[in-house]
């Protein structure tokens, strides 16, 4: 589903953000990406979204070779995934409903499908009753759930979240990750960047650690050693 092959990224100003990163994320996985600030986590995400191009190495996501993808195909590629950011990125003058519907309206989805999908995903993230409220009247956790609903609304196979809990109270952070966990159980692949260790240790998922632009550890989901007792 996601494949990095010897990927390096050097920004135009000379900063080496990633060096020789190779990793493989399969369909249905839930992966935490951790590392200190400036380690290169967001750069990794930007390469996955084709917001940046690698300086060297090959990136494959959802069956698209992102080294070779044509400009014209990028929108089609982006429709196969959903993104969530630390700062929510909601449109302030639109209600929760319209923020979610926006993703469908700008990608040529029929009105009928919009009316069907939007209430469904708002229900999924537990915001059915707050559909008519604008972002500033919602809590941080609720705003992030609107953003998550927007990421989910076109039914993507992959959700990429860059520090989705970074602007949220710790108690509410668990709710968000719990939600992602539920979504993962329904079959969606989740890649979530975070530097909150409590979150990572609370959920039993694969953890990729990045420091100074390289992968320093990659621990798979802890498998219960059943049958030996």
């Amino acid at each position: 589903m996601i494949e990095f092959n010897n990927v390096s990224k050097r920004y135009e100003n000379g900063t080496k953000a990633l060096e020789n990163v190779s990793l493989n994320i399969d369909r249905g996985e839930f992966v935490f990406i951790v590392g200190s600030s400036g380690a290169g986590k967001s750069t990794l995400i930007k390469l996955m979204l084709r917001e940046e191009k690698p300086t060297s190495g090959i990136v494959h996501v959802n069956g698209f070779n992102l080294n070779k993808i044509k400009r014209r195909q990028i929108p089609k590629f982006r429709r196969t995934l959903g993104v969530v950011f630390q700062d929510f990125r909601l449109i302030p003058y639109m209600t929760a409903y319209d923020n979610v519907a926006f993703a469908l309206r700008v990608t040529n989805v029929s009105l009928r499908d919009i009316r069907r999908r939007v209430p469904y995903v708002l229900g999924l993230v537990g915001l059915a009753s707050k559909a008519r409220i604008v972002p500033e009247k919602l809590s941080g956790g609720e705003q992030q759930r609107v953003a998550l609903a927007r990421a989910l609304v076109n039914n993507p196979d992959l959700i990429i979240a860059d520090e989705p809990t970074g602007n949220i109270d710790p108690e509410l952070s668990f709710e968000i990750v719990e939600l992602l966990h539920e979504i993962n159980k329904m079959g969606t692949t989740i890649v979530m960047v975070t530097h909150e260790h409590e979150l990572v240790s609370h959920f039993n998922h694969r953890v990729i650690t990045i420091e100074n632009g390289t992968v320093v550890s990659d621990t798979p989901e802890y498998q219960e050693e059943a049958g030996y007792l």
Binding site: P75, R78, V83, R89, I91, A103, V106, T107, L111, N154
Partner: protein, 302 residues
Amino acid sequence: MRTSSFGYLVKEGARSLWVNRLMSTAAVGVLAACLILVGAAGLFAANVSSIVSYFEDENEIVVFLEDGIDQKGVDDASLKIRMMDNISEASFVSNEQALQEQMDKYGEYAWLLEEYQGEENMLPHAFRVKVKDLVKLEETAEALLDMSEVQEVRVPTEVAHTLLGIRSIVSWCGFIIVLILLTVSLIIIANTIKITVFNRRKEISIMKYVGATDSFIKLPFVVEGLLLGLLSALLAYMVVWGGYVYVMEWAGTVDSAWLQELYQYFIPFEQVFKEVLISFCAIGVGVGSFGSMVFVGKYLKV
């Protein structure tokens, strides 16, 4: 395109106009001012052209035929003249008619010319010829002079030069004015779009993440530019209409002999309102949508 998306595009373009209404008003004001100046220049040029073509009509070459030419010679000359490219009208003036005209001019002294009537008429037969294109006046005059039946040609060269000069000055000035104003309009559109792109940078970035196509992202800006252009065109049309009618009324009442002489050749607004309206809308919509299409690509980097 789906109706939901189309509705979104038009709504976004119009909403953006409203959200930035101060800037939109300024942009419409400047664009309308440009169009008004273009319209004024165009109408001025059209009126000058109308007056010039009146004088053009008054301008005729007189072609004097050889003395003692016979009827066949006159017929030959008539045929040759009418076959020439640049000639719109040719009328034969016999020496008798010419003498009669002279006598009419003399009025009560006409009897002085009486003795030249009939056999004694010394005047040559002539053709009065009007040319189609004043630019080729001299060429045509030379061709006429080359004919064997012709002894002399009288050409109003100076008047022609003056008229041509006026016309080319007016059209060059008009052209330069239009060019400058088009540039100004494009700069205004570019700035408006630049500010709109900045104001909408959040929506644009979200659109990119959720997979909206480049053209879809650009369309609201084009709609906005188009609406700006259209509003400016309508505003400019009303001002030009009112202004033109007012100037015409004023010109009709001014106590000046030469102005009254020219007044009859001014073009009434009813005769050109369609052209003015259509060209304003075309320029406004064209500059608005083309300008935003070009500049939005530059500022968006989608």
